[in-house]
Symmetry: D5
């Protein structure tokens, strides 16, 4: 289960300037609750939890008072590893967890998932401070 | 014959947020009713239906109440396999079938067809909710 | 001499929708009337017509009532093969011939010519329905 | 079912010289008899024959008395389109059909199949005249 | 813990021909028992098992009487997911498990691991039938 | 410690024209004060100052009365080599030092830092003359 | 018709050293006598000679007493422009013409022809001084 | 010394249409008056004029009544070869010379200079008809 | 000064098998004692030690009884950071330090250094157990 | 005129080990005595010496007692700048000058010249210590 409590922040050293921070990792993995487009029930019984999904996660934000601490972000993304969760939820969940914790001026999360059944999926969600 | 009845949806888990889903497959194939730019009548007699066309299909949409179920999209795209259909119809037909079923906020379909007679064709059609 | 009479059209199957068709070929060749930047008079005497030019031609249009028939476009582009014609005329001539025949909503023609004298040239012309 | 009887040859114009001919197409498709690594039984019932496979086929040979006629090779490869056949059989079958018909000095067939279940497969078989 | 008992084979359809099968997946992941080059003890306590490693695994073999069943290979590679194991062991273990089960004429396993501490590692092990 | 006093300028030879200068180097290196995401305390004791960071620095500006002298920029960027400084400070510090010295019409600084803990960071800050 | 009489040579300035000269052009074009894999009879009537073929020609040789004069090679390759000739003959003909004129220690000619009917062809022929 | 008198023009064959011409060469070279970032005084004495600079020059313009004659542009760019001139002057000088001679509707010149001292420079200047 | 005492090893888990380990880092940096091809004496006075060099270091070895511990290799390569040392010595020194410590069956070290004065250098040294 | 007297060496720090040094520069330029394949007599009169040629020069050698000093190699290659010399002579001349000065165990020189008349040339010469 994703653990947003792992996320930490540090004070933005240039809070008066609007500047952008982009972070990306090709090492995101989670499980698909139903086994997904390529896995049948017999396989799922073996796996006890779902078929692995793999994605590159891109995060772009404009910090306000806080910045995301890089090491804590790594641990937070690792916490999806054995969690059964659909693509659409992965991206929107990361958006919600990061915007809730860091309260940025704006934030974009892109999940670029590996090919399944010959189809590749890329999901993009955006947050703007009200 | 394309089978739009194969398409299935599931409820959008974040219906209040405007976010984008992109899906792409390099494995689209259909037949050309007339044999196309590179095939003559004698060949068509052998083929019983038309010369194969190949394309990459890119689909981008902003979901409203429903999302496209990935596995059903795969099956729907397979249903063009032995259908005789021109490039322009392939792209506009997918646009119509998907927008009719999923009723998205917006939708773009791009068909990037392989070289025929030294010429490559890419066709792009777009739908916006009225 | 370019033969626009080779161009054929077929009725646009989706005339009420504004959608885009892109076609490209790396196999365009014509002759340069003066031998061009790299050829002297002695060579031209041998060639009886001019030094070969090579280009990739990109065509993008939004169809109105008619679409360009692909095979006829191939034959039309072949008709430049032994014609002496400058780069600027190639691109503008194709623009005129296609817009005159197909009467599209809009049309763009790009000629991307091979290096001559260490210099590469790319020429872009655009038409919009009045 | 693959139709080797579609293959035609023409006399090698330089039979005394040992030279090499390489041909490649990214447009090979067949069906998997069991639905393959990514398809379950319910899908197969819909498909009536198996899940589509896609591959690039590379053929390299040194002709002896005959060369492979290109158009007939295209038709022969199309004849796998609706045939249920495993990867290993595809490559070895093409090797057998071509070597039986053309009797080359040597022949290599490579089948580079698209990703299934996150796994890509490339199969290579070789023939040398005894 | 890797589960070699998941591996299945099927009879090689062309046992008399020496031909090569290559399979590759970018979706291998396991854990590092010590947290690895980039993780400290506090992180490991959170992770309960080790820091994630990611790799592309390439497998090349010449089958003898049996071929590796693709779906079972996928499941076998998934079984490393939550196992703590060093790079050198991953590659040599896969070599031992596959050669023990499939008894190929020859086999090569390459593990191409993601950057850790600015350093990338690629490990290659080979088996030849005695 | 960064030495902005190393920066030199020369008079803009075309001060009346608004034109753009872009400079980039893949050879930026500094230290991370805390060892960063991948280094523990024992390593830091050995290093006496912090773990090395590496980045590509891109600088784009529109000069006003002065241009940045290239050799002095090289020396200025070298002065970060043994300085402990966080990513966010590197980029904003270069922005402040350059804008303070050269007083450009506008300036953008991008720091594209190497992967740490599987995560890549790119930071972008912009200055416009008031 | 190819005009080998256009080829000229100049004395090898280092005749005692065995060194290699490689030349390549992406600008080779000829005609296919039968229209080729993609053209029917009606088109051929329009074309008066055959459908255009396009290729990259690579030439590698070790000179003996003479070197190929580059400008004359260009003119010689241009002389295929309106000649109806099959792929296999193009490559072997260039090999014969060049080896006959330049008498090199060795010579390799590769013709890499554009896709026709979804199939790409590359033909390689080699000459060694007896 | 740059020789703008080498530039020649020819009448724009389509003066009533606004279309774009792009030309690029990777073969620009000049000298740096001071030896530049990488050369000391002793070297300059040997060179009698300055250290070589290398650049790709990109020129984009919308012609009005005249077009740039390609061969004359080649000779004009060659005239910088042994001239000592700074980057900023190269780009702005070409902009002035071309706009003065050809009087285009608009013109952009980009000089993309090779790495010196680990730093790459790209300079962009633009002209619009008043 | 390079610190080979930082290098650590662990027992090869498969000492009876001859297999290969490749490691690479793009993050090597050292200093050039004389300032190198691009730096004059005035700059060196500022730098107190030499101009920075940057390289990618590739290491390939076949382990015997010991393997190189990855974290210790990282620290060892960092120890060149403020050391004045020529390219040839960097590569041969790493070869000597690693072969002395790990006593592999064989070892290859490649140093791929960044462009200086328009020239790139790559140095390769190899060790084989006597 | 090439100035081999500019070349300097320094003692090989590891004379007992056979290791390889590779150096490459994309910044070689010379003149063609006859104007070359793309330049006529009128242009040559303007140029006073010949049309510019451009090449990438690759040098690979195994040092014996001496190594090539990098800065002196840069100056030596610059000395071809205004020299009229054919491709074949450029490469063989560099081979002779370097082998004469440095007396390496072996040496290879590759000159990869830019496209002229649509043709690219690459010339390779090799020296081995007798």
């Amino acid at each position: 289960m994703p653990q947003p409590e792992l996320l930490e922040t540090f004070p933005n050293p240039y809070p008066d300037r609007e500047y952008e921070i982009f972070m990306t990792t090709p090492e995101f993995t989670s499980l698909c609750p139903l086994g997904g487009i390529e896995t049948d029930a017999a396989e799922l019984a073996l796996l006890k939890g779902g078929a692995p999904d793999f994605a590159t996660i891109n995060i772009t934000y404009v910090p306000d008072r806080e910045c995301i601490e890089l090491k804590s972000l790594k641990l937070y993304l690792w916490s999806f590893r054995n969690d059964g969760i659909f693509y659409e939820r992965v991206v929107n969940r990361i958006l919600d967890d990061l915007s809730g914790k860091v309260k940025p001026r704006s934030l974009k999360v892109v999940g670029d998932f590996n090919v399944r059944g010959g189809l590749k999926s890329v999901i993009t969600a955006t947050y703007h401070k009200p």
